[in-house]
Symmetry: C2
Subunit: 181 residues, 2 copies
Amino acid sequence: MHQGFTLWFTGLSGAGKSTLTTLLHEEFKRRGYKVEVLDGDVVRTNLSKGLSFSKDDRDVNVRRIGFVCDLLSRNGVIAISAAISPYESVRQECRALVESHGTAFVEVYARCSLDELVRRDVKGLYKKALAGEIEHFTGVSDPYEEPANPDVLVESDKETPETSVHRILAHLEERGLIDRA
Amino acid sequence: MHQGFTLWFTGLSGAGKSTLTTLLHEEFKRRGYKVEVLDGDVVRTNLSKGLSFSKDDRDVNVRRIGFVCDLLSRNGVIAISAAISPYESVRQECRALVESHGTAFVEVYARCSLDELVRRDVKGLYKKALAGEIEHFTGVSDPYEEPANPDVLVESDKETPETSVHRILAHLEERGLIDRA
């Protein structure tokens, strides 16, 4: 029986949260850990249908993810949140909730420059947002507060996903949250 | 490491869901099981703030509880839902979701006659509902669909809470979902 913890990603759309989450999910499974991923789509479908992208509704959405991560991680599951989670104060609330049960909350900041995100623009969303066609698009028409002190910083414009995953796993191993591979 | 399952209560307000849930929670803890309770208040605060008591919103609320019970129980936790859960079709949806992961879904119908609930009326809500002061009050001004085929039937107007708890535990033991005490 391994201990649970919450692995909390934050970062702009396209900064690599989903890619890293998918790789980590597979790796944790391969190593025999219980793991659940709460990404934006899962959460919008199952926990937050009807919420808008206003500040208040975003906060509610992120708090709900925190509530579920807490339930899972205090019961021995690695709970991964892969939402944008743009506001520092709500991230801190989620950390406080999880840590109040003696469970680790590991914040991973997936950082990528806006220039690079606009250049990639896999889904064509940045173009639309910059043209004023998307309200409340984080990083363009809505604020993103960088984490003051993330546990791990990964940078998809400077390193491969494999390198980022390796650094996250190394951090978790160093803290004794997972066994060394 | 024990297996998880979902223990899904359904029944009118005042029929004994919270009392039984509290007793079971303590008993499962005492026996060393991981257990989480999702009662109406916890859920309204953390998952469903802003939802009304309309049919649609109630369905959303119950589906969210089912989503979280599924996440927990498929990871080895005993997840207890203590909401009224008035509609058969949504209960069946939640059962299907949980069972789709090979996890047991045990439906417990806390039955109590309306006469008896009105007589007790601990919170004074039935009086208000019967006076037409509460919209969407299940059993009075909103429908309650009895389970077609509950796994366990408990009747708080005919048996003590201790007897009900004993019968629920016996059912779980018989099915091999928990060890015999």
